[in-house]
Symmetry: C2
Subunit: 130 residues, 2 copies
DNA sequence: AATCTGTTCTACACTTCGTAGAAGAACGAC
DNA sequence: GTCGTTCTTCTACGAAGTGTAGAACAGATT
């Protein structure tokens, strides 16, 4: 799946941050406003479109072609995506428990607590994601 | 830090698998033999050298210039590196606990057990790796 | 039909990565 | 100390990925 480029990431962030699907133009605006920090430079809509197509191709974005200004949304939540990425990386390792040990060795106490809580309250219903 | 390319990864794997530091030529040989699966094609030593330099530049490889055939070793263990990558990804997320929840939702029961064990075992003093 | 708005095609520059030859540097043999 | 061998560095190029956007095309509105 690989890591995304800067623009790709910004666009995904905007999509993840949005409740409802967005149009290319809306994204263009939210990119100008919301993010970027210092810039302020407006991107061309076609640029946004191009990146959206690429993200769709990568399976990260779903496009609704039924409506006229096409609507775009992230195919999975940010958390899901991130968790998947983490698993991908973990899975590529030969020595998973060792990695997990190191991983835990680096988490903050709060996160450790969070993890403990999650592991002890097992609401393992979510048989979702194929 | 980003993901590595195929060759870069193979070389890192060889370095991680090795107890002691290796020379470029040794790496070249172990690449031919150990990995690759189907190929069998021998890389030029200069290719290995180039990639090693790039990896050194990225901070993943440490080179000992004191001895003549320079010796190369991974700057950190595979597990450490992987764990760091996972943290990097996790850190880029705004909603860490949510990600962790999703992450745990995807781990195998064995891994969950491993994690439980690690979280309950004595505080990992290991103040190693800077 | 003409126009406006949004989408697709095409394109280019820049970076990263795989790949390696040519040139340079160090070290042992003589 | 010079010669040859061995190793490293420099330089380079092609493929892929990404940021960027104009040109051309399609659907809706009047």
């Amino acid at each position: 799946m690989a890591q995304l480029g800067d623009l790709e990431r910004s666009i995904m962030d905007a999509l993840w941050a949005s409740e409802s699907p967005l149009t290319a133009t809306e994204l263009q605006e939210s990119l100008e406003a919301g993010s970027a920090g210092v810039s302020g430079k407006q991107l061309a809509v076609t640029t946004v479109l191009t990146v959206l197509s690429r993200l769709e191709h990568k399976g990260l974005v779903v496009r609704d072609r039924a409506v006229r200004p096409h609507l775009y949304r992230a195919s999975s939540s940010h958390a899901d995506h991130t968790a998947e990425l983490m698993h991908e990386i973990l899975g590529a390792s030969s020595d998973r428990s060792e990695v997990l040990a190191r991983f835990l060795g680096q988490v903050s106490p709060e996160e450790a607590a969070t993890l403990r809580g999650l592991l002890n309250s097992p609401p393992r219903d979510s048989g979702l994601s194929a």
